[in-house]
């Protein structure tokens, strides 16, 4: 039942709550310091481990970070590139120079891209191109290791699947500690899921049924993000709904079986 994290470590806080910070590093996005005191700026769970204190948000939108891999929807074409909805405060820009020449984009397309730059005045700049090699041989090796990593990120246009949004603040819960939750869901549905760090998810399936199950799980995770033992419950729910799925099939078969049995009698 109980999760590996000790409950005493996580405290539910609201803006203005004083935090018992002892760690050397604090997350300035969520923790605010005044007169030698620390206060939370958001509603969330205060955590402190390994010299780092932060508050895991429970309400609110996606805040971009350079290096994040996000799923976006192209909403407009502007002078220098595409305007992309990435579920953040403002739409992001995907400059044409950052689009690989092979991919042809149009409005409405769903893409996977990386946050290349996040400037205060510039807003979010995206990149869909795997990083280009610089001149000089020395870096070749490094580039290759990086390339294998970028390969896993699968930047580019999404050609099939369903887009489902989760509240960005609940995303860490969907992934779970060390990816335990998301990999369980992937395994359970036997389908691949692209997880954008902005809360847009793409379930790679054509099956409406799987999409429904997936959406329900997402809504449950959103609603119960602050509770413990959620991964176990989701895994249970997943196996139950999938078995009811297979039951429906088998019961359908058994019904025909019974019918045929009756006919033979």
């Amino acid at each position: 039942m109980s999760q590996p994290s000790t409950p005493s470590e996580r405290i539910l806080v609201v803006p203005g709550d004083q935090l018992p910070v002892t760690a050397a590093k604090i997350d300035h996005e969520t923790i605010f310091r005044e007169n030698e005191q620390y206060y939370s700026t958001v509603v969330g769970l205060f955590e402190q481990r390994q010299n780092r204190a932060n508050v895991v948000r429970l309400f609110g939108p996606y805040t971009p970070k350079v290096g994040d891999v996000v799923v976006g929807i192209i909403i407009d074409e502007v002078l220098l590139g595409w305007k992309v909805d990435i579920n953040a405060a403002r739409p992001a820009l995907l400059p044409f120079t950052n689009v690989p020449s092979r991919s042809k984009l149009s409005i409405g397309d769903v893409i996977v891209a990386e946050v290349a730059d996040y400037g205060v005045s510039r807003g979010v700049v995206l990149n869909m191109r795997e990083k280009r090699a610089r001149t000089g041989r020395r870096k070749t090796r490094r580039r290759q290791t990086k390339k294998t990593r970028t390969k896993g990120r699968r930047l580019g246009r999404v050609t099939r699947g369903f887009l489902v949004a989760i509240q960005p603040s609940k995303l860490p819960r969907l992934i779970g500690r060390g990816g335990s939750m998301i990999s369980a869901i992937k395994r359970g549905l036997n389908r691949d899921i692209i997880v954008g760090e902005n809360g847009y998810l793409v379930l790679r399936t054509e099956s409406l049924r799987k999409r429904q199950i997936f959406e329900r799980i997402i809504r449950i995770i959103e609603a119960q993000a602050h509770t413990t033992g959620l991964t176990e419950r989701v895994i249970k729910l997943l196996s139950e709904s999938l078995s009811s799925f297979s039951l429906e099939h088998s019961s359908g078969e058994s019904a025909t079986g019974r019918g045929s049995g009756g006919a033979s009698r």
């Binding site: 539910l12 609201v14 203005g16 969520t30 609110g60 939108p61 405060a89 403002r90």
Partner: protein, 252 residues
């Protein structure tokens, strides 16, 4: 009890206000967080007969562009009383009063919001009074800060509003519409309870210097009580999901 000690204090306890409250008693208050699906953050509240709905949109791009601040968030606040919120139909256009309240509420909230985190962005706060029964600006602020928390906007503190005033010679807390009209003074106070800072202070009527400080202390005390309810409302919203566990499963 504000009237001093001894026999007089006892008399104050027996004395009741038109709606049967004691001098330092709040009207029944109900706060709810996250009631609207379409807004980023929202809150609904009832205080006595009064009902207010608050919605927060954003942060988004600034429109119209000339309102943009390059170094901080542009906050837009609209306090508005619905045409059906008063005894007689009210013209729906914002009045001078609405415009003034929008401004002071915005300034009270700006003190709490970490505006420098969102340069070139805009946040819209809509405070819609559905039924007015006195003290709407205070309830509006209380709810707006809940809606902001619900939208995930980083804030130094929650903001709580509460009124105090003078009615029939006594300093009373949280004046109703009737008391406001007949009373000698009405004072709206909003504070950041953890940081212990006043972010809004308005007064209408006449108070002596002494009475003013009495009323201020009483209003701050009221704010602190409402702040506890604010925190409870947020926690209730977070707990809401628990009731959503899958009994729907059986049907399918």
């Amino acid at each position: 009890m504000q009237q001093g000690g001894g026999a007089e204090g006892q008399a104050a306890e027996e004395w009741r206000r038109p709606d049967g409250r004691a001098a330092d008693e709040l009207r029944p208050l109900r706060l709810e967080v996250g009631v609207l699906e379409n807004a980023e953050g929202s809150a609904y509240g009832e205080q006595g007969r009064g009902k207010i709905l608050v919605a927060v949109y954003g942060p988004t791009e600034v429109h119209p562009r000339h309102m943009e601040h390059v170094d901080r968030l542009t906050m837009l606040c609209r306090y508005h009383m619905a045409p059906f919120s008063t005894e007689e139909r009210r013209r729906p256009q914002p009045t001078r009063r609405d415009i003034e309240l929008s401004k002071v509420i915005r300034e009270a909230l700006e003190a709490a919001v970490l505006t420098e985190r969102f340069p070139r962005s805009m946040l819209k706060i809509f405070i819609e009074v559905l039924e007015a029964a006195g003290g709407t600006r205070c309830l509006g602020i209380t709810l707006a800060s809940l809606a902001l928390a619900n939208a995930g906007i980083p804030m130094r503190d929650l903001v709580v509003g509460c009124a105090a005033g003078k009615y029939k010679g006594r300093i009373v807390l949280d004046l109703s519409e009737e008391e406001d009209k007949e009373g000698e003074a009405d004072m709206a106070v909003a504070i950041m309870p953890s940081l212990n800072r006043i972010v809004l202070l308005q007064m209408d009527g006449e108070l002596t210097r002494e009475e003013f400080f009495q009323a201020l202390d009483l209003a701050i005390e009221g704010c602190r009580r409402i702040h506890k309810m604010q925190v409870e409302a947020i926690k209730r919203k977070l707990q809401e999901g628990l009731a959503l566990t899958p009994p729907t499963e059986e049907k399918e």
